[in-house]
């Protein structure tokens, strides 16, 4: 990357199951005011703003109209990206590397609690001719994918349940986690089936929350923050639209996205060069599937790393120490932002009780959920 981009600050609010006392404007203002205060800036100093949002999550036909007032971005260059937060971070880096902007803010929020018919909205994402008329829960896509993944890798339902146990336990040390808890594998396996082999407890429950990131070009970043967290690599990819033509049981989009990011960050052996991972766990099996797509482990090897305790907070390859989406809650388009936030807190040594010792490099990877095949990756470092 010709110009280094630094994360100066991240402001966040919410991460609770519901936020009934705040309108979406008020929720975003609170997160933005924390981010700007931590960076010591006013919104008029900011060159560009990017919001990650989807119309039908907000309940508007043109939701980008309503994103700038609460960011203080009136009469400013503001663009809405209908994609994962980590894609918007990649876009912000491009704005800075193009030289068009020095100070860029990226925002996303979840007001999932305001969606009365969440499953209907998700089903409305299916192809209307080939898939939607089957009229079954959208989680069927994850059911087909998980089943194929178990067959291809020999991973068991018990191991996927162990991911739920690990992440919800990690979340006990995260004050911003809505769905923490102590569970056993047996508890998780006892949960009701939704789309076998996917059951209720292995689906990341939803949460409300907003996250605002302040990014700056290298020299400005150093002025605003004595030790910013650097973004050393970004990547994103979409496999395909169709359920009919995708490679079931694997995550090619995560693989392609990570190759892009690794190339920029100069990473050749992820498991050795990256100290912590915050990867997609919107369904428990996806954490293992993602680690293999990211080439952290070989195909069918992630399960051994799990069994040997390597993925835990004290392991040599800590994954989702924040609690992940299973523990913190799924934040719609802001899901990747929560993963990036954990990297920022860990690499700034501000992660409190769950702080990992001497960490320098972290990777965040997020997926946009059913029925999509879009993944995004951001690699950060504090060197």
């Amino acid at each position: 990357m010709n110009r280094r981009v630094g994360i100066v600050s991240m402001g966040y609010h919410g991460f609770s199951a519901v936020t009934p006392d705040l309108s979406y404007r008020e929720l975003v203002y609170l997160a933005a005011s924390k981010a700007y205060a931590a960076a010591g800036i006013e919104p008029q100093h900011v060159d560009m703003f990017i919001c990650a949002a989807e119309d039908f999550c907000e309940g508007y036909s043109i939701s980008d109209e309503y994103c700038n007032d609460q960011l203080g971005a009136v009469k400013k260059p503001v663009q809405t990206v209908c994609g994962e937060y980590l894609q918007a971070i990649g876009n912000a880096c491009m704005l800075i590397q193009s030289g068009l902007g020095k100070l860029v803010v990226v925002e996303a929020h979840s007001k999932a609690s305001n969606m009365k018919t969440h499953d209907d909205v998700l089903s409305f994402g299916m192809d209307p001719i080939w898939n939607r008329p089957l009229k079954v829960t959208p989680h069927f896509v994850a059911g087909l994918d998980m089943h194929r993944y178990l067959l291809d890798t020999g991973t068991t339902e018990e191991q996927c349940a162990a991911i739920v146990v690990k992440n919800k336990a990690n979340a006990m040390l995260n004050p911003s986690a809505a769905h923490a808890g102590r569970f056993t594998v047996a508890d998780v396996l006892r949960a009701e089936t939704v789309a076998w082999p996917v059951n209720r407890l292995s689906i990341a429950p939803r949460a409300d929350g907003c996250i605002v990131t302040v990014l700056a070009e290298e020299s400005l970043a150093r002025q605003l923050n004595s030790s910013p967290v650097w973004i050393t690599g970004t990547g994103w990819a979409t496999e395909t639209t169709a359920l009919e033509t995708r490679r079931w049981g694997s995550a090619p989009s995560a693989e392609i996205a990570s190759q892009m990011a690794y190339k920029e960050a100069g990473i050749t052996v992820p498991s050795q060069q990256i100290d912590l991972f915050e990867v997609d766990d919107s369904y428990a099996y996806r954490e293992l599937q993602a680690l293999e797509a990211l080439k952290v482990f070989g195909k069918g090897q992630a399960l051994h790393a799990l069994d040997e305790g390597r993925l835990g907070p004290t392991g040599d390859c800590p994954v989702n120490v924040s609690g992940g989406s299973l523990g913190v809650g799924h934040l719609l388009e802001a899901t990747g932002a929560q993963k990036l936030l954990e990297l920022f807190l860990q690499l700034s040594f501000k992660a409190g009780e769950r702080q990992l010792p001497d960490v320098t490099t972290g990777l965040a990877q997020a997926w946009r959920g059913v029925p999509t095949t879009t993944s995004a990756v951001v690699i950060c470092s504090n060197e």
Binding site: K76, V78, G125, T241
Partner: protein
């Protein structure tokens, strides 16, 4: 500015029609394939894909960007969808510019698509949900209301008559006769416009562009790649975008400040100081006839309140000093929202290469500006191109 130069090297467009048999995915493919063929390129030559498409409520699919991915060439590629209301069509090349100017990618396929005909009882019904859900939607508003409110304010502020405004519709719909994608190219008179059904006074049927299905695509590359692909690259020399407050009823609608701010951002980048003299061809956004005038002023192509005079004096005709909407605009070619803006970018691309056929303006046009508008009278997206 340390960015890489970015050029447009290819373009493709489908017909704009009231109802298309194709699915949105198929429409996107038709335009994207034509753009690749026009540049002699294949999907292998494309590093990344940018998709611009407006409300999901039109095609009727949640996360519509994901739904259109395979038809847009996004298979196993970096693919990102942006959405800034009606401004999406001209923001698409800006988003593509960001991908290439940063140096992260060498080539970018920019695709815009809209299929409005799936929406019932009428595509216009999807517009009730652009208003504030708590303080406005209960009044039963539709998009035409806000245009009528703005048109009335604009005409009242500058003392214009409905007749002055109607001339824009006459000019653009006539220009569209020469555009192969046109849905409503036709010879009409000012009287036809004045006598057409009043939808929301002062807006009448022939003051408005139609709801349409359609797709368009262009290919952007860096300078090195552009030289390999064509000997007539058209450079994206200026980009600008600006979003006003959502509290639209607290701003005076007669002048689009957000268009001016976006235009100045683009002009500064392109080194243009006197747009009314240095611009050779313009494609202001014209979903309604008065809107072309409104945006000509926001683009600083003339003094405030004087755009109507330029149209009346033939200055904006294809043979005039400053041709505006030689393509036929949204009024004539059609208005599949996101694809409309990109149709205007494609018109600049063809005009500046002297390849606009029957629509070609005389002389040697070297600098053009295209603009789109959207949201609640709120977003301006402006691109300057030059050869």
């Amino acid at each position: 500015m340390g960015y890489n130069k970015v050029a447009c090297v290819g373009a493709g467009i489908t017909r704009f029609v009231r109802r298309a048999k194709e699915t949105g995915r198929e429409l996107a493919w038709e335009a994207a394939k034509m753009a690749l063929d026009s540049a002699g390129m294949t999907l292998k030559d494309i590093d990344c894909v940018v998709m611009g498409t407006a409300p999901d409520a039109f095609d009727g699919v949640h996360m519509k960007g994901e739904y259109l991915a395979d038809g847009s060439g996004g298979f196993c590629k970096p693919y990102m969808r942006h959405f800034v209301g009606g401004g999406t069509g001209v923001f698409a090349p800006i988003h593509g510019w960001q991908h290439v100017a940063s140096g992260k990618f060498d080539t970018c396929l920019v695709v815009c698509e809209e299929k409005m005909s799936s929406t019932f009882p009428h595509p216009q019904g999807a517009f009730i949900t652009i208003f504030d859900h708590t303080t406005e939607q209960a009044l039963g508003p539709t998009l035409i209301w806000i245009f009528a409110l703005e048109m009335n304010r604009y005409m009242q502020r500058w003392g214009l008559s409905e007749r002055d405004v109607a001339k824009v519709s006459v000019q653009n719909k006539a220009n569209a006769i020469d555009h192969p994608a046109a849905q409503l190219g036709q010879k009409i008179t000012v009287e036809d416009v004045l006598n057409s059904e009043v939808l929301a006074w002062p807006v009448k049927r022939l003051d408005i562009s139609p709801a349409s299905d359609g797709a368009a695509a262009i290919i952007l590359t860096n300078e090195h790649k552009a030289r390999q692909v064509t000997d007539k690259p058209v450079w994206v020399s200026g980009v600008g975008w600006c979003l006003e407050t959502a509290y639209w009823a607290t701003r005076d609608l007669y002048y689009p400040v957000y268009v001016e701010k976006a235009a100045k951002m683009a002009y500064d980048m392109a080194g243009i100081r006197e747009p009314d003299k240095e611009i050779h061809v313009a494609e202001p956004y014209d979903p309604f006839d008065y809107k072309m005038l409104h945006h000509m002023e926001g683009l600083l192509l003339c003094k405030r309140g004087e755009a109507a005079k330029l149209v009346a004096d033939g200055v904006t005709a294809r043979t005039g000093r400053l041709p505006c909407c030689p393509s036929g605009g949204a009024l004539g070619v059609g208005n599949p929202i996101a694809a409309t803006g990109l149709m205007k970018i494609i018109e600049l691309f063809l005009q500046l290469r002297g390849e606009a056929g029957k629509r070609q303006i005389p002389g040697d046009p070297r600098v053009g500006v295209a603009q789109a508008w959207g949201d609640l009278m709120q977003v301006g997206t402006v691109v300057v191109m030059n050869r």
